[in-house]
Structures are given as C-alpha cells and as structure tokens.
C-alpha cells in the first residue's frame, strides 16, 4: 500500500485522531516523510476542515476543501465513532500496532473519549502519544477554548498588530493566515520525532504535550523578555513596521539599517541632492526624520515598478522586497527556479499547485503522492485487513452509524 512512498519515516505507523489544522499538519509532515498515517474521523461529518473554505472551484462539498486536502495528503482515511465502546475497541486495536497516536483537538476530550496516554499504552508500551491542544494538557487555561484569534491575542501578537497603528480606536488584529495553528503543527512534528529518538534509548513511548499557545508565544521573544530585563512595556500597534513605499504597481519595503546600506540606497536612487543634507547625515538624524525620508524616497519609488526597485536595491545589497500578492509569489523567478511549488493530487483526480515541503532532501522525502482520503474511503479495507473485521460485521457497524 505504501511502496510508492519510500521515505525517511517509511515503516512508521501513525494513527491520527486530529481535527482542523494543527494536529493534521503534524500528520501531514510525517506522511510527507513516508510514514503511514491512518486518519480516523467521526462518521458523517468528519474533520471540521472539510467544512472550511476555500473549496475547489468554489463548489463546497466534504471532499473539496482545499485546506483539508492540503493538510491530509498521503493519509489513509477511516471513519469510526470512538465514543461507542465498540468503536473505541476497534480504535484501540489500531493503536496496538501503531508507533504514534496523534491527537488534535480540545484537551477535555482526551479523557472524555478515553484517549489518555497511560490507558492507550497498556497494550503497547512503545506507543508515543502526541497531543496537540489549544492550551496543553495542564495549566489553568487547559479547558479554555482556543482558535487563531484567541491565541494571537493571548500570545501578545495582536497587541502589536497591525504595526504602525495610529488610530487607536481600531481593534487589535490577528495576522492574516493561521500562524498559531501552523506553528503548533510544526512543533508537534518536531516533538514527535524527538520522542522517537527517546524511544530508541528507552524502548518506552512518551506522551508529548504540545500546546498551540506556547509556539506562537515564542514569536514575541524579544518584546516579552524586554519586560524581564528592562521593564519596558510595549505600545499597542507599535509592532515592527517596515516602511512601505509606493511604486507604480504596488509597494516595496526597504530597510537600510546599516550605514553602508543607506549609502548604497542613496547611490541606487541616483545620489539626489537632498540625501547630503544634515537631516539625513547619520542614523540618529535619519531616525528623527523618518517622515521626510519616506516622502523623499517615495518621489523615487513612485516612478518605478516594484520589482525593478527591489532588484536594483538588492543588487547593491540593500534589504528590500516587493509587497507580493500570492500571484506575485507564484510568478517570482527565484521561487520558480527552485521549484518550490509542487503539484498535489486532489480526490477529484485533478492536481493543484501548492507550496512544497519547507525543506528539501536529496533523498528520503517523497512528498505528497496520494490525495487526501474521501470521508471513510479506506474504512472497510483497513478494518478488514488490520483488524480482521468480517464483511457481515462491517455491514452492521455501518448500519449502526459506528463506521
């Protein structure tokens, strides 16, 4: 079944009961490296990412969510109502042969569904259980509800977003995207691999407790530690705001932080007379005259396309980038030259262009070869082959809504 997916983690068996983004992203990264990941979903509705947009060709259906299909490529799919004793028994059967149990969801459900590590480990001492939950398995907020907006607010990111905010009657923002959830997914994959290393030494599986709040809090390392060192508190909306300059077709961001970068930028601009005025003579003076600099530099940028400004500044080693849309990113010659985007298969049989793996290996990283499972696609196959459930019982389990 997995011969075409030979990779670094080939042979590793993962059973996933994880909803939405963070937990499934852990499973996806392991599957990308060749692990066999069996995704177990509640019958009927499945993973809630199935009901989250965008959908292929804007036709919403349980198998067309592009978010779901991105996060669940390579996995095998099984539906099982694990809240029933029979469902739980079958689920435990899958875990007896597994290396990793991957949970993603509310911490309160871990006990409610009988998924705590010590219980699961009784029949399989080598089992590693990775729990990705909003606030972790311990601590006073353990049963708080999470979500991207809530996590970004508690982690201190929304306080400083958007950077450069002047109208303080406007609300704090979450950054675009689902950074807290994706970060938790990255950390969950790392911690799971570490538990594999540990198991090599101890022959015993660990419980891995990954919260969504800690990885996203780690982003604000300087501003948070600043309080411990100097007591200095932030000002709302004062987050790092690289200045944007108008170009003919959008904006560019430029940050000539060091003296040689500033000199290089002045030269690229054609050594305008204003740049030799005392108001711009050194970094301190320039800091005090940021508005004036912005106006003067805009006089130059506003006559040129953003990519031309970007390339000419970078050619002189001045940190600068165009403000890209996703379309601009896809059109970037650099991104194309490295072949970063890859084709991922969708259940419909078509391919979609998606961001590739975050790192590339010469060997052992097969990538996404198989589309995400349709809801319950491999239920009968897996229950028959792995747990020797008879055809007759499969029928009854289906009739009862357990699968």
């Amino acid at each position: 079944m997995t011969a075409d997916l030979e990779g670094i983690l080939s042979g590793l068996r993962v059973v996933e009961y994880a909803d939405f983004v963070s937990g499934p992203y852990v499973g996806r990264q392991l599957a990308e490296l060749g692990a066999e990941v069996i995704k177990v979903e509640p019958p009927g509705k499945g993973d809630s990412a199935r009901r989250t947009g965008p959908f292929a060709h804007d036709v919403p259906a349980l198998d067309t969510s592009l978010l779901f299909n991105y996060l669940n490529g390579n996995k095998l799919g099984l539906t099982l109502d694990i809240s029933t004793p029979t469902g739980h028994e079958l689920f435990s059967g899958l875990l007896r042969e597994a290396d990793v149990f991957l949970y993603g969801g509310a911490a309160a459900q871990v006990e409610a569904l009988g998924l705590d590590h010590h219980g699961l480990q009784k029949t399989n001492p080598r089992l590693i259980s990775t729990y990705v939950t909003p606030f972790g398995l311990s601590g006073p907020y353990r049963n708080f509800k999470g979500g991207e907006l809530v996590l970004d607010h508690l982690a201190g990111l929304s306080y400083s977003t958007p950077g450069g905010l002047t109208d303080k009657t406007k609300p704090p923002l979450k950054p675009g995207g689902r950074h807290a959830l994706m970060m938790a997914g990255l950390h969950g994959a790392v911690a799971t691999l570490l538990a594999l290393f540990l198991r090599e030494a101890t022959q015993h599986g660990q419980a891995v407790d990954v919260s969504e709040i800690e990885p996203i809090s780690s982003i604000q390392l300087f501003s948070v530690m600043q309080v411990a060192f100097t007591g200095q508190q932030g000002v709302r909306g004062s987050g790092e705001a690289a200045p944007f300059y108008e170009a003919t077709d959008g904006t560019v961001t430029i940050s000539p932080m060091q003296e040689h970068m500033w000199q290089a930028m002045v030269h690229v601009m054609g050594d305008p007379a204003w740049a030799s005025e005392p108001a711009f003579a050194n970094r301190m003076a320039r800091n005090a005259n940021r508005k004036a600099i912005h106006d003067r530099v805009t006089e130059w940028t506003s006559t040129l396309p953003k990519n031309e400004i970007y390339q000419s500044l970078q050619a002189s080693r001045v940190p600068a980038f165009p403000t890209n849309t996703v379309a601009d990113v896809l059109a970037s010659t650099q991104i194309q030259a490295r072949g970063f985007f890859e084709q991922i298969p969708l259940p419909s049989g078509e391919n979609a262009t998606a961001p590739g793996p975050r790192y590339r290996f010469a060997e052992g990283l097969p990538g996404i070869r198989r589309p995400a499972p349709r809801l319950g696609e491999h239920t009968c196959q897996i229950l028959r082959e792995r747990l020797h459930v008879t055809g007759e019982d499969l029928v009854t389990l289906f009739e009862l809504g357990i699968i």
Binding site: I8, L9, P54, H57, D58, L66, L67, Y70, L71, L137, G139, K145, L151, A155, G156, Y159, T161, P162, K170, P171, L173, K174, G176, M183, L186, V190, L193, F197, L198, A201, V210, S217, S218, V224, A228, F229, Q233, E240, A242, T251, V252, T253, S255, Q314, T323, V326, A327, V329, Q334, I335, R338, F340, A352, A354, P355, G356, P357, Y359, F361, G364
Partner: protein
C-alpha cells in the same frame, strides 16, 4: 527511569549560525541533549552579542544573545584564515551536523561548503539557511526577517478588511525558520541512522514562510481568487468574531462558532434586547449581519473589565481572550503554571528567564538548560578535551589570532 535520558544524547553539532533563526534552532537542540558547539569569529562574533539591549556596559552579552543561545558550548575560530578553516574542519570531524545561516558567500569564501566538508566528513548533515535559498537567480538577496513577510504574501492578507496591506506585529520568518531547521535536522539524523548517509539541506526562509498560508495559495491556483487583508475574520461563518474594546483601554477577542456557543454568550451578557433581534437568530444571520452585531457586542464589552469578561465567557464555553501586552504574556498565569519560563543564573545578568522549548514530555525528560556562553568560554573544552590540542598548538593559534 527515563527522566534523565535526553532524546539527542550523543549528537554533536557544529554551529556556525548567528543572529536569530539558526541560534533558535540550536538552543532547542541543545536543550534536547545535543552537544552544540557554537563557533564564532573572534573578532566578528554573533551580531546579537552587541544588543540592542546590552546586559552590562560591555558589548558582548546582550539580552538578545541570552534569549537565543542557552544550552550551548562556545568557541572562537576565525574561519577566514587557512589555519582557522583547518581548525573548523577538525571540529566538524567530531560532529554529526553542521548548521549555518550566514549571508550567501561567507561559507563559500571560507571554503566550508558542503562539498568541502564532505571531503573530510563524508556522512555529515549540513543545513544552510538564507533569505531565498542558495540556488536561483536571487540567491544572494539579503533581508531582515520582517521584510520577508512582504515578499511571501503575508502582508497582503494582513490588515483591516478593505484597506491597504498592514504590517505583522512581530517577526515570524526567523522563528519559523528556526523550528524548520530543527525539523530538517531531526529528519536527516533519523535518515542517517537508517542509511548511514548524510545530506545537504538548503533552506529558504521565504519558502518556510510561504508554506504558512497554503490555503491562500490554493485559492488562487485553483479558484483564481486573490485575497486582501482579512481583518479579524477566520471565515467559517463565525460571528461575533472580532476584538472588542473594554474598560481601561483594553481589548477582548470573542469568537462564537456555533449556536450552542451563542446561547452561552447570550447568557453571559444577560440577554439584552439585541440578542433577540431576528437578524441574529441563527449563525448564518449573525454572519450576514456581523458588522451590526459587532456594534452591539462592543456596547457590552465597553462596560466590562477585560479579564473578568474573558473568564466569564470561557467559563461558559465561549472562546475569549484578552489582548495581552508583553508584560501580560511574561506574567501569564497559564504559561507560568506550565513552566514556560525557566530562570537561569549568570554572572552578567543575575537570575533571568528564558523561554524553554515549546513542548513537554510526560513522564519526562524536561531538557537541559544552562545560560548562553561568553565569547570563547569553552575554548579549552573544545580545543583540548575534544580535539586534543597541545599548549603549544593553542599558543600558536592565539598568536596568529585564529582563536581568542
């Protein structure tokens, strides 16, 4: 029984990285048991040693350096000198992994590329990180972390709906690259255990950041849709779903995702007339009229103390969070209860916290944590104990300014 064994015991890492992304990765690896040997230029050390928040009058041990360099050994080698290059290669011979994130050209100029290193250590794992990667027409491009947000499309979807793209409030690209470094190194180490082979990993900070928002790329490549700034919306018909003003200039995020949560929300706010408005009768109606709904919700939150409201809502099963500033995040009761901040002691700073690795093992281990090293603090450990150099050889290296 298992509490004292660390996952990466026996792994040794030659760490040529500096500033943020690389050091973040190697401190995590160090905390997980790897022996990390940080190699700095004696006269061109890690830029973050100098600040921006110095811990003393001297310029070699800043807050930034403290935060990013725990659990490492430190030695000095001028890799631009031929003798320094030789010394670096001697260290690498004792290592499983080489990591670096210099601007393109530095390791090349020093003669320490993967091809160079492989000649003396054939099974080495080498990870290089740079702004746009080490291949392609723009491989030499330079960045400060936050600038890359613009290139990667993150700014385009950040900001108030219908307005211009906004800035993200922090630097995402460097910490993201840091954890991606760790993932790549662990996978490569696992691969080496199975096959005996090393490899070279060319990591692009831009690519790791682009991979943060896959659904936005797919919406364009499949549906042709270009999204603008998202405001506080997460789609999915969730309303109320925004940040609302409270007493004392504070803000509260509230996210109501379904009918059950709406009923709990109404109970907490005390069933005012507007909660019975027919427009807000179900989740679809609330979503369609979310702008009007936001006004009513803000009318309630303005009379509330933010933390009290957060606890009341969460108690009732509604997602809510205070917009915490840096001080509140440091003092956060939950993070502290989970031991997220570990205090370490050092002569330069006294007792100060660091952020531990953002995961926990049960039953353990906790990891090993010791404070960021002084420049060249472990020269003796590295050069005498590990490499076995003599007094005479060390004297010679010092005299020619290869080491401090």
């Amino acid at each position: 029984m298992t509490a004292n064994i660390l996952p990466l015991e026996g792994v040794t890492i030659a760490d040529f990285s500096w500033v943020l992304a690389g050091p973040r990765a190697t401190e995590y690896l160090g905390a997980m048991g790897a022996k990390v040997i940080k190699i700095e230029g004696p006269y061109r050390p890690d830029q973050f040693r100098a600040g921006p928040t110095p811990t003393t009058e001297t310029e070699d041990y800043s807050m930034n350096f403290w935060i990013l360099n725990y659990s490492k050994l430190d030695c000095t080698v001028d890799i631009m000198q031929p003798k320094g290059r030789e010394l670096a290669l001697e260290i690498i011979k004792h290592c499983d992994v080489v990591i670096e994130n210099y601007a393109y050209g530095v390791m090349e100029k020093a003669g320490l590329t993967y091809e160079d290193i492989r000649k003396v250590k054939p099974d080495i794992i080498m990870v290089s990180g740079s702004a746009l990667g080490k291949s392609g027409p723009d491989k030499g491009h330079v960045t400060y972390g936050a600038l890359l947000h613009a290139f990667c499309g993150l700014n385009a979807i950040t900001g108030y709906e219908g307005e211009e793209p906004g800035s993200l409030g922090g630097t995402y690209t460097d910490p993201l690259t840091g954890i991606t470094f760790v993932m790549a190194i662990l996978a490569a180490l696992w691969h080496k255990r199975r096959t005996g082979r090393g490899q070279f990993i060319d990591l692009s900070m831009a690519e790791t950041s682009i991979a943060q928002i896959p659904e936005f790329f797919l919406d364009y490549t499949v549906n042709g849709r270009l999204s603008g700034p998202q405001g506080n919306s997460d789609g999915r018909g969730a309303a109320p779903h925004n940040s609302y003003p409270c007493e004392a200039d504070s803000w509260l995020a509230i996210a109501v995702n379904n009918q059950q949560e709406w009923e709990s929300f109404c109970q907490v706010v005390g069933y005012p007339e507007w909660t019975k408005d027919l427009r807000f009768g179900d989740q679809f109606g609330r979503w369609k009229h979310r702008a009007e709904l936001d006004e009513f919700v803000a009318g309630w939150t303005r009379t509330q103390q933010a933390y009290d409201a957060m606890y009341a809502l969460q108690e009732a099963g509604v997602a809510a969070a205070v917009c915490q500033n840096n001080k509140a995040v440091l003092e956060d009761v939950h993070l502290n209860a989970r031991g997220y901040y570990v205090e370490l002691e050092h002569e330069r700073v006294g007792r100060k916290p660091i952020m531990r690795v953002p995961w926990l093992f049960e039953p353990g281990p906790d990891g090993q944590y010791f404070p960021a090293p002084l420049l060249g603090q472990h020269n003796d450990v590295v050069f005498r104990d590990i490499l076995g150099l003599s007094d005479e050889q060390l004297h010679d290296l010092r005299a020619s300014k290869v080491i401090l």
